[in-house]
Amino acid sequence: MIHPIPPGTRDILPDEMRELRRLERALLDVFEERGYGQVATPAIEYDEVLSRGDRRAAATAYRFFDERGELLSLRTDMTVPIARLVASRFASVEPPLRLSYLANAYRAVRPQRGQMREFTQAGIELIGASAPEGTAEVVEVLAAALDAAGLDRAVIGLGDADLYRQLLAELGVEDEQTGESVLQRLAAHDLVGLEAALEEVDGIGAEQAATCLALSQLRGGREVLERARGLGGDAVERATARLGETYEALEARGVADRVRIDLGLLRDLGYYSGAILEVYDPALGHVLGGGGRYDGLLKRFGVDLPAAGFALYVERVHLAQLEEESRRGER
């Protein structure tokens, strides 16, 4: 008899499980070696706690009531639960704190397009270390994790979450709704829509709109920062300075060649500030993971500490592993 399971979920059978376990062990070993102790948190949390961390992710959360009528949510990532954990359990510990996790998270998305509703994330959080050194350490661990997974062609995109917010402020866009519609199009990389949206904003001339569009297209090595500076403006100057410092710290750690600077990078999670990261492998059309800085997140839980981290989607990393293996003719 066949008994169905909910869409976006799946069973894992021994052959796959063996490979997943091997991958997960390799990732956890990297985290442990670098001093990131593993933690676990409940899959269910009070909805109030999760939406305190990220109002936008709340849109895709699974919610239900417990027997006392309390509103509960399934976690949509591990960053917010760990912020909650740090605030309640480690508030008086001398920073920096290094924590790692391997956990399932849940999002009520449309399944069957490279995204499941239940998925596994492996990642780290570095709390209490600010930019650029804190960011560089996170990228270094990420690069080591990708190596441990055998993804030697994988690339880490590095962008800046504050660039466009500051640029819009500089251009005098004060209306929140207008700003939001521009940022949304930037995040979706809808250049046609972006051009139209910019045209409608009062005070933004054709030249400034062209600058904004050109910025979002800049991606590559260090030379990108020079080209961005050429486009001018205070916000660009500050963002490229931040990125430049981070890039130098990455060079000092010997991982800069894994990183591609991308001024068009904008993640749609609400809590990012400063550096943002995304992971790609040429063998897979989907993003393997992401992360960045969220210096304001811990403050929402009452502890004012800078923080950064990343999460890899374990199932996608496994998929990329398979593609890379068959490419190398290992099977």
Binding site: R110, Q112, R113, G114, M116, R153, V155, G157, A188, H189, D190, L191, V192, G193, Q217, R219, G220, R260, D262, E278, Y280, D281, P282, A283, L284, G285, H286, V287, E315, R316, L319, A320, E323, S326, R327
Partner: protein, 221 residues
């Protein structure tokens, strides 16, 4: 989990829409320096390999699917398709300007049914091939509708009483005219767009940007 591609190397793969957009798409690609002779021939193949660019032909509505998954690196399709599949993650990089048509709400000529239903029943019945575009339009304009998805000739629906009106794509308006229908509202104007896979846009940046610039020049008026 949908898969990726065998290796992510080799020629850039471009998804080319068959059907109404094909002719102008091939012209634009030619002008951008992409050899399309093979596609223009009698061959019934679907894949046309080239040195730098491989052309893959498919239904326009499949283009976002292939590009989102990375099976094609870039593609060309209509804005109507992109709007209808708004939840697919593809980067919309360029308005190619051709294939211009309008998404409209149409009803029978001189027929008050749309307004009547709205007034007396509180909602209209709308037949369409674009249920999500239709739903979004009526939601945004504060009207309640029953959207009926049909696959074939939409014009039939209001003529024999399946629906009060239709939401459909109109190029010349001749089909509407022939079926005694008229445009009541314009929803959005649609043209062909150049789209890219998110990962290809990052990892094959130089090739994607170069093709985009050549297409921009080729289609600029």
């Amino acid at each position: 989990m949908s898969g990726g591609r065998p290796n992510g190397e080799g020629p850039l793969r471009i998804a080319v829409p068959r059907g109404a957009l094909l002719g102008e798409t091939l012209d634009a690609l030619d002008a951008a320096g992409v050899d399309t002779t093979a596609v223009r021939g009698e061959s019934r193949a679907l894949i046309f390999p080239g040195e730098e660019i491989t052309l893959v032909t498919m239904r326009p509505s499949d283009v976002p699917t292939y590009v989102e998954a990375g099976a094609a690196d870039v593609g060309i399709t209509g804005k109507d398709v992109i709007l209808e599949q708004a939840d697919r993650v593809v980067y919309e990089l360029l308005d190619l300007g051709y294939g211009r048509c309008r998404m409209v709400l149409a009803g029978r000529k001189g027929d008050a049914k749309l307004g009547e239903s709205q007034r007396r029943l509180g909602m209209m019945r709308i037949a369409t091939k674009y249920p999500r575009i239709a739903e979004r339009h009526f939601e945004a304009t504060g009207r309640q509708v029953e959207v009926i998805e049909v696959k074939g000739s939409i014009e039939l629906a209001p003529l024999i009483g399946l629906a009060d009106g239709i939401v459909d794509l109109v190029a010349t308006g001749r089909t509407l005219e022939e079926n005694d229908l008229e445009v009541r509202e314009e929803i959005v104007e649609c043209t062909a767009r150049f789209v890219a896979n998110r990962v290809a846009h990052k990892l094959r940046a130089a090739e994607v940007d170069a093709l985009m610039e050549r297409l921009r020049e080729a289609t600029a008026k």
